[in-house]
Amino acid sequence: MAILETRQLNKHFGGLHVTGNVDFALQPGEMHCLIGPNGAGKSTFFKLILGEHLPDSGEILYDGEEITRAKPFERIRKGISVKFQVPGIFKELSVQQNLTIALQHHVAPEILQEEIDRLLEFLKLSQDRKQLAGNLSHGQKQWLEIGMAVALKPRLLLLDEPTAGMTPDETFATGEMLQELNREGMTLLAVEHDMAFVRQIAHQVTVLHFGKIFAQGTIDEITADERVAAIYLGEVDA
């Protein structure tokens, strides 16, 4: 059974059809990337899955259970977690506090510190635990947010351009982190522009164009598809 499924998902903003009849299924254990030119509807699709926007019609199922109208925090409690494009961290709080807040509602107080230490090591932030999160470098902020999202021990991790603004080294290190999480059993769905990064992590790629699924396949199949190259050059209409 798919861990995440959308059936005929639709969303309009005024006259603009941003998500059109999207049927999408994500298998457990998959690392899947969503790509597409600007305005393809990737962010809206993400927001629909998270519950930030509600669809006009269609269904969203998580692990077979319908969550189309569930509140965002309810979806998180079911096992979905998210990393936003702009690092969504608590800037005025220390790195340690950021992780504490992410961990405290499902980790017993006795092992909280142990869990924080483990995450800090995973995120390469052990030296910065007392720093205010706002003082970290951009890449470190991205990692901290990945850490907060992972702290919930989700089954499905959604990542909206997780490497935006990172150096190539940081991007590669992020890819390795995500691969490690995937090896531990986490399913990942990422919106990403950086094709080198997509090649590094994705098992499967979905191309969105004008709110519809345009192509699906492995990265090699997608990059070999001339129609996909054409939409990035603006040569294919919906």
């Binding site: 998180i76 977690s81 608590f90 800037k91 220390s94 919930l152």
Partner: protein, 356 residues
């Protein structure tokens, strides 16, 4: 975990990431200030001591606003609404019930409960309606101004609840002071030394209780909501419930201020919910440093004393100084003057921690 160690870890929350003062130096200083506060009545005229309880009365509302605004990030401009509701409720209850058998204490609890209930209803529509930022300030200010206007037109004899006349613009008076039942004669808390100590103890309990609250898991979540509500929600927290709970606790403290003030002066007027009254708590809390309970207390007490001294020269003049103080704070020390004064010491300390 055993119950003893659970209690110890509960007490440990008195210090934590959400409160500035920590360590032996802070608590020694705290002890000295507390001792000085306890010793003050021995060196002052009891009439002055009773008068100065006035300053303590407001501190509960200030701490409540620090919780809602400083910690929770929701600027409520209408805390005086809960102050007034609780003040009037105490008046109506005690005028009708009298002061025997500890009924004034029950009235205190009921009046604070009524203000908390009012905050729950208002807060439900605000937070579950996702009203935030400047709109929250506008709605809460409107509520307190509506209450002021409403109470101001209750002058006629038809505006009475039982024996309690509301008295419109002139305000309600002649309610009994808080009275503690005691074998061999009730202790009536007139504005004198006994009331001073009772209020001081209440203040101490609320201050320490709030320190524990803000350093607890609940406190972690409310500062997380202040910093980034969307992230907090995406960590699985129902942000609306936390905001509502914070608002209710802070507003109940404003209600406690209202009851203590009404009992202290045996008097409450609609003006206590008016524009000027609603603005002043914002000034106290902003000037001290709203994001910390201790700086809020120190700042509020300092501003109140300066304000009171200035009103000797005329209340309008004092209000202009308050307005100027707020503008200066916002421009020069947006996190609060007390915090700005402390920050060089805090920087040195955190640098030392980093070197360790």
């Amino acid at each position: 975990m055993s119950s003893a160690s659970r209690f110890t870890s509960f007490l440990k929350l008195i210090e934590g990431p959400q409160t500035l003062g920590k360590g032996p130096k802070f608590w020694s200083g705290f002890g000295v200030v507390l001792l000085a506060a306890c010793a003050y009545p021995f060196f002052a005229d009891s009439y002055d001591v009773g008068n100065n309880v006035y300053f303590f009365n407001w501190l509960f509302m200030a701490m409540g606003l620090s919780l809602i605004w400083g910690y929770g990030g929701a600027l409520s401009f209408g805390q005086t609404a809960f102050f007034g509701v609780a003040g009037y409720a105490y008046g109506v209850l005690t005028i009708n019930l009298g002061d025997a058998y500890g009924l004034t204490l029950i009235s205190l609890v009921l009046a604070v409960g009524i203000s908390a209930l009012f905050a729950t209803i208002l807060g439900y529509f605000l937070f579950f309606g996702r009203i935030s930022g400047v709109f929250l300030g506008i709605v809460t200010l409107s509520v307190t101004l509506v209450l002021e206007r409403f109470m101001a037109q209750t002058a006629g004899p038809e505006w009475a609840i039982g024996k309690a006349r509301l008295n419109g613009f002139n305000g309600m008076g002649a309610m009994p002071s808080l009275t503690i039942p005691w074998p061999g004669g009730n202790i009536v808390l007139y504005p004198d030394v006994t009331l001073y100590y009772v209020t001081l103890v209440l203040l101490l309990v609320c201050y320490l209780g709030l320190r524990i609250l803000v350093n607890s898991r609940f406190g972690n979540v409310i500062v997380a909501i202040r910093e980034n509500p969307m992230r907090a929600e995406m960590l699985g927290y129902d942000v609306r419930k936390y905001q509502l709970a914070t608002f209710v606790i802070g507003s109940a403290l404003a209600g406690l201020s209202g009851v203590l003030y009404t009992s202290w002066g045996n008097y409450i007027t609609p003006a206590s919910m008016g524009m000027t009254a609603a603005s002043l708590p914002i000034v106290w809390v902003a000037v001290g440093g709203r994001s910390d309970l201790t700086t809020t207390l120190v700042g509020t007490l300092a501003v109140l004393i300066v304000f009171q001294s200035l009103t000797i020269y005329g209340s309008q003049y004092a209000l202009i100084v308050m307005g100027t103080l707020l503008v200066i704070t916002v421009l020069i020390a947006p996190r609060g003057i007390v915090i700005a004064l402390l920050s060089p010491f805090m920087r040195r300390k955190s640098k030392l921690e980093g070197e360790r």
